[in-house]
Symmetry: C2
Subunit: 385 residues, 2 copies
């Protein structure tokens, strides 16, 4: 590492320690002046009032070196916007959103990351899978299936690290041997939730990574989960809500994803399940697209025109191509009792001349036959033994 | 009954026997000339070619008197468009649809009805509940619940007479003591399906009715179910598809309902259930509104502005009204370990002056308290014992 690079990392580490994300004024100040000059200005209190409001409470915290050492000790590195693997294109959505009037949002100042640091590559084609902590077996099964199916189609999976849907999505992606990203609402060293420490280790050991904008030691807090959700939304092309109650973080992520111009998808479930009520509400409100399979997710989230589901996939019947009068004639016949064309005409209400033209055509199609005692219907494929 | 009335009934009985529904040319001819003159013209073969095509095969069937006698013998009557209880307003949709280019559709020429003949009244506020014959327990439970809930809100339920969703909807409506209409695809005397003869008797015995445009003795046939579906759609303000496979008659009814300008609703279910796939497809294609409860059905199907669900029905939290900085301050506190305002400022990133203003406000709201060793968070309602 060159002294210049170290100086940059120290500046970014300091800045991300002194402001509680998101810090839109500080972010703008850093873009304007560069990280190092911005850090100096913050340390010396020479910043505009809106920036000072964001950093005033913590500007005395000079922990940059200690934070970098702590990161090094735990195998994490600080990914900064100046790095080629910074997910620049994904985070451009924050600028667009701010221009469109979204308030209090901003790209992170830096990201602590453990696992594969190739974030720009892994998020080039990514889908986030989110939902309730207290998921049902139905929801967990689907999340795992989607995680598995998405990596099989070349997508990276993005989620949080909670129990329930988040964990199931990661497990499915890992089982599929693909990349999955876990975005935390606390420092990477906090070990939250405790029951997922092993899972997060597996995520890091695979193609994916665990990441957070919060410095080492930052405890999780409710507002941090909400703020973290913007990163899950931004890092993916679309967000699937698998299960969500009427009030849930997953719905919050969906709202942010929509603000960022991402595709929002929701999975339906039993209307008797409170865990699907949030999904149904998103669908009722027209805020999400209904998806029921990985194929549908890939179609909705992927680049336009890619991953289209072939239209042929519907079941067919022998009588599918028949016109209305042909169907009436066909239905007027019995598989066993033969009927004359006259009888068929009266039964079906189709004029005799029409019946006389239709019966041979149906015979040619293999649907009816001339029996000893008149015309009979041939059994349908599904009825044949 | 006056001789004039009898003559009218005989004419309508004859006309509905000689044409297989729907017979749009004959229907137009009858509107133009009146039922009795139209019947004479058909009998004598003095009709335009398009009408002749609809009646030619059966115009020799002179069964009007026999049909009226058969109807009388089974306790049914022939309801005709000239009667005040003809559901004129509902059936006006057929004219609008035809004007909008819908082909091969028409109001029925007459309706055989058993039970309450007050059809104009019972369909003034009606919802049809349709779905698969081979329904799941989930689907049947919901159909019964909707049937019960809809009559409780003053709606009449409309459905077919099949096993599965149809039967469950009727049973729910009957249990609620309300009116339910079963529309058959065969003659009222055919007794199809056999396992629902008792249920249909109960429908007739209550506030509702069993009805059909098919003369006595007409056997069920697949095309008749599809044609019958237009009456289910037309007789109601909206159609709810509770469960439907990707190919199903219920989806057909939904399509007709849309053509008739009715509200189409679909109930989601597990994506793992093939019986909900048709519902999900309707929702994905934007052809139906997602509904999960009777209240939502009533809101969607009822007159605009009626039956609105009060917006308040969402769960609330103690911290719901808090602004972003207030929430951050609240979250920075612990229920047990006290903290000074300074500590809270660093932890939350909120400037000290802000923290000093926010803490007393939170105390006033009962969310935080001044403890012996500093500020503490008070336990949330749900956490209190």
């Amino acid at each position: 590492m060159t002294p210049g690079e170290l100086s940059l990392l120290l500046a970014r580490a300091y800045l991300s320690r002194v402001a509680e994300p998101p810090a839109p004024a500080l972010a703008g100040f850093v873009v304007e002046h560069g990280a190092e000059r911005a850090a100096d200005a913050v340390r010396e209190g020479r910043v505009p009032a809106d920036v000072q409001k964001e950093v005033g409470a913590r500007s005395e915290l000079r922990l940059a070196e200690a934070d970098l050492q702590a990161g090094h000790a735990m195998g994490a590195r600080l990914l900064v916007p100046e790095h080629e693997q910074w997910p620049r294109e994904r985070f451009a959505a924050f600028e667009h959103a701010a221009q469109n009037g979204a308030r209090n949002t901003a790209a992170p100042l830096a990201l602590w990351i453990r696992g594969s640091p190739r974030l720009a590559e892994s998020t080039a084609s990514a889908v986030s899978v989110v939902g309730s902590r207290a998921a049902s077996g139905y929801g967990e099964q689907l999340a795992a299936e989607f995680g598995h199916g998405l990596v099989g189609r070349g997508f990276t999976v993005v989620s949080g690290a909670a129990y329930g849907i988040d964990g199931a999505a990661h497990r499915g992606a890992l089982a599929g041997g693909g990349a999955t990203l876990a975005v935390l609402a606390c420092g990477l060293d906090v070990g939250y939730p405790a029951g997922h420490i092993g899972l997060l280790r597996a995520v890091e050991a695979g193609e994916g990574a665990v990441l957070s904008e919060y410095p080492p030691g930052t405890p999780p807090a409710r507002h941090r989960f909400l703020i973290r959700n913007r990163l899950i939304a931004a890092l993916s092309m679309g967000t699937v809500v698998v299960e969500a109650g009427r009030r849930s973080g997953a719905r919050n992520t969906a709202g942010i994803a929509a603000d960022l111009g991402r595709v929002v998808m929701a999975v339906p479930g039993p209307v008797t399940s409170a865990l699907s009520a949030g999904c149904h509400e998103l669908l009722r409100d027209g805020e999400a697209v209904l998806v029921t399979s990985t194929a549908e997710i890939a179609e909705a989230a992927g680049p336009i025109g890619a991953n289209l589901i072939p239209p042929g996939a519907r079941p067919s019947r022998d009588t599918d191509g028949l016109g209305e009068e042909e169907l009436r004639v066909f239905e007027a016949l019995d598989p066993r009792k033969g009927a004359s064309a006259d009888e068929v005409s009266v039964r079906s209400g189709v004029p005799l001349a029409g019946v006389r033209a239709i019966l041979p055509a149906l015979e040619f199609a293999g649907l009816v036959a001339r029996g000893e005692y008149g015309w009979v219907r041939r059994r349908r494929r599904s009825e044949r033994s």
